[in-house]
């Protein structure tokens, strides 16, 4: 959201940006409860377990936060790309590449933590940025559609990484029959915030990043350029913005964030390494998170928290109510749908607010004959 626009009518904006999502979630819960009932379980029980699993005790809270962290950062990445008129479906692959890069630095380099940690994080950022810059370049140079190219780079990343941790792969931990890399050295692991828990400082980084991205978008000249390109490429050209450079840059930043998300996962969570089946699906969740957060950095924090809570609550939901974890995916899909098509919600609950079209990015712009 354009912060200047916010001033237009603060109360109404807060109202719309809070009440509608809440009602959307509520409605989604109602609908999915039908599915749960049909499958012979008790929705109330399931939802209670879900809630307890997410917030029941300190450890559950911590797990929720741990799940939220990568979603925030990944979501920020997607949101930023959207702001620049780019549809970065490649976050999945960028997370992988980022985590692998930080594994490489984190396992090989010998340095005191004070240097090692930042370097390892940086490795993730750079790797992700470069990996994302490729589709960016292809779009800028050839107009190759980023949705397609990022999907392809996802496949490529996962395949190469699978190979690299495979038996003869360069990163394979030799003393393991599991396809996994060595664990990061002590000096490369993120410090724990509450002793004897898994809570590392990743969440702090994530929250800071949210603010940074907000400032970047709405308080810097680069932000103006990114958003101008996102809203009107021709106007951007007219006022002398280097559109192509901007596209590549936006993708790079977006990918850098994704890479960082990956780095934090390997640096923060035991066994501090990359195994097959690591972080599958975070990329696509980030996409949903970004959209749910109305591609606004602050909104992303909340939606990431929502998704994180559901993901971590899912454990108890299965354990107690024996409801398969896929229910979470259904829930998330429904929530996304109702938030995006909030007219439905407004219709059900008869909320009278005029659409605020302003600053609305067309996520599928430049698809075909469009701007590019």
């Amino acid at each position: 959201m354009d912060n200047l626009l916010n001033k237009l009518n603060p109360i109404k904006n807060i109202y719309i940006s809070v009440i509608v999502p809440i009602l959307a979630i509520f409605t989604a819960l109602i609908l999915s409860s039908v599915v749960i009932i049909l499958s012979g379980s008790n929705p109330l029980l399931a939802y209670l377990a879900l809630a307890e699993g997410a917030f029941g005790n300190l450890n559950n809270w911590i797990e929720t936060i741990l799940k939220t962290t990568p979603l925030i950062i990944g979501g920020l990445g997607v949101a930023l790309a959207f702001r620049g008129g780019l549809f970065n479906i490649g976050v999945e692959g960028q997370i992988f590449v980022g985590s692998i890069a930080s594994v490489i630095i984190g396992t090989t380099l010998k340095a005191p933590a004070i240097i090692h940690i930042p370097l390892t994080l940086l490795a993730g950022v750079i790797a992700g940025a470069v990996w994302a810059a490729i589709p960016g370049y292809l779009k800028a140079k050839f107009g190759a559609h980023e949705v397609i190219t990022t999907i392809m780079t996802n496949y490529i990343a996962t395949r190469i990484i699978t190979w690299s941790i495979g038996m003869n792969g360069p990163l394979r931990k030799t003393t393991s029959f599991v396809p996994e890399t060595n664990s990061l050295l002590e000096t490369a692991r993120l410090p724990i915030m509450i002793s004897d828990t898994r809570l590392h400082i990743g969440i702090v980084i994530a929250l800071i990043l949210a603010i940074v991205v907000y400032i970047l978008l709405f308080r810097t000249t680069l932000g103006i350029e990114i958003r101008t390109v996102g809203l009107n490429i021709t106007a951007a050209k007219y006022c002398g913005i280097k559109v192509n450079r901007n596209i590549v840059l936006t993708m790079a930043i977006s990918g850098g964030l994704a890479g960082l998300a990956g780095a934090i996962q390997v640096m923060g969570l035991p066994p501090y390494n990359f195994t097959a089946g690591f972080n599958v699906g975070y990329g696509f969740d980030s996409l949903a998170v970004a959209v749910l957060g109305n591609i606004n950095p602050i909104g992303v924090v909340f939606s990431a928290f929502l998704f994180g809570a559901m993901d971590s609550g899912a454990r108890l939901m299965q354990l107690r109510a024996k409801v398969p974890v896929d229910m979470i995916t259904i829930l998330q899909g429904l929530i996304l749908m109702f938030v995006a098509a909030n007219q439905i919600i407004r219709g059900i609950y008869r909320i009278q607010i005029q659409d605020k079209k302003a600053d609305k990015v067309n996520l599928s712009q430049g698809w075909g004959g469009g701007s590019k």
């Binding site: 109602i30 599991v178 108890l316 398969p324 974890v325």
Partner: protein, 374 residues
């Protein structure tokens, strides 16, 4: 809008009342596991003599193979011990970063027998077992070894292991005996997963053992962990290719990918060989062309170990369950007697150590980690 809110609240309430009504009907047809979970949870909680938790590896519980076998084992054991439905449950792992927390949440929930399946969870299972000596841990497919592969058993943890290469070898031999075109095929899941690799290598050796000049075409799914076990379509298409290449016996090991291959090969008129469970039962589509399955009695194994806990005979360390042939079922008549005899002999030679089914061959998959049986 308030009015509508309350309206929906009411709706939700009604739904959850309805639930009790439709409960039995549903459970008959759909889910024996789940009836009266909701209604009778609280009071029966205390009655559990044991609480069994199961953590699946990344991938679906009902993959009609590895994970499912373990889970069915848990269910069976629970029935034998006369435990109520609320005394055992599962968590399906969606992200390998969650292994630890998933296991721990069973610990927190006061479960005292925890089954984890998949070599990937080995290390963390052992670690948690160490921290909680009063609880029992069963690791399916997890050797109880330390960083350097040296045996290092804990009293409260059992590694339930299998020599998949045995089963692979046996079905391989069967395939080698049954093929008329002298071409046999195999479709496998992720090549970097040791059990799969053991099946493949065993299968290859088995065929060559009985039929040295037979051609063995084994294909792995080239994808990463998120697809290589679940790409049934790939398996099916590959099977078509193998059959048109002349393969008349096809073996499949690797979750849904393999299932796709088996069904298609069957439809194309080839004999098929199943994996892990007796797929004559779990994959009805192939019941008329499945010769046998490389049984890995995960189910029996799990039941056995849990039983040993009940009767106090539980001791830590590695248990090596046999890996054998499933019954021939419908095709029993199709298999010549001398072949059956030969298979018996081979089985004996395997267990006596006379044959090493895991012998690497030129270009064989390095990811087997066959541990010699003591």
């Amino acid at each position: 809008m308030k009015r509508n809110l309350t309206k929906l609240m009411v709706l939700l309430a009604i739904l959850s009342i309805l639930l009790t009504a439709c409960q039995p009907k549903v459970s008959e047809t759909e889910q024996p596991v789940q009836n009266e979970t909701s209604t009778t949870k609280v009071e029966e909680k205390e009655e559990c003599s044991y609480k069994i938790g199961y953590v699946s590896d990344v991938g679906k519980i009902n993959d009609q193979s590895f994970n499912q076998a373990s889970w069915t084992g848990v269910e069976e054991a629970a029935k034998l011990l006369g435990l109520g439905k609320e005394c055992y449950s599962f968590i399906e792992t969606t992200d390998s970063a969650d292994y630890e927390i998933n296991i721990r949440s069973f610990v927190d929930e006061g479960y005292n027998i925890i089954v984890t399946s998949g070599f990937a969870m080995g290390a963390i299972t052992r670690q948690i077992a160490k921290e909680n000596p009063e609880l029992f841990f069963i690791g399916v497919g997890q050797e109880q070894v330390n960083e350097n592969f040296e045996p290092d058993p804990y009293p409260n943890a059992v590694g339930l292991n299998f020599r998949e290469d045995f089963g692979g070898f046996l079905v391989g031999a069967l395939a080698g005996l049954m093929t008329e075109t002298n071409v046999v095929g195999g479709v496998f899941g992720c090549q970097f997963i040791p059990p799969v690799a053991r099946y493949e290598v065993g299968y290859y050796n088995g065929v060559k053992f009985v039929n040295p000049d037979a051609k063995v075409i084994n294909v792995y799914h080239p994808g990463s962990i998120d697809v290589c076990f679940s790409d049934a379509t790939f398996g099916s298409e590959t099977a078509k290719a193998l059959v048109s290449e002349g393969a008349d016996v096809l073996y499949g090991a690797g979750g849904l990918t393999a299932n796709g291959a088996l069904i298609t090969a069957c439809n194309q008129g080839a004999y098929v060989l199943g994996t892990d469970m007796d797929q004559f039962v779990t994959l009805p589509e192939v019941k008329d062309c499945i010769l046998s399955s490389a049984l890995k009695d995960i189910q029996e194994g799990v039941v056995g170990v849990i039983g040993s806990i009940a009767d106090g005979s539980f001791g830590g360390g590695d248990v090596y369950a046999p890996s054998s042939l499933a019954p021939f079922h419908n095709l029993d008549s199709a298999i010549p007697e001398d072949a059956k005899v030969l298979l018996e002999e081979i089985a004996e030679k395997l267990y006596s150590g006379e044959i090493n089914p895991c012998t690497p061959f030129e270009g064989s998959n390095p990811n087997t980690f066959c541990v010699p049986i003591k």
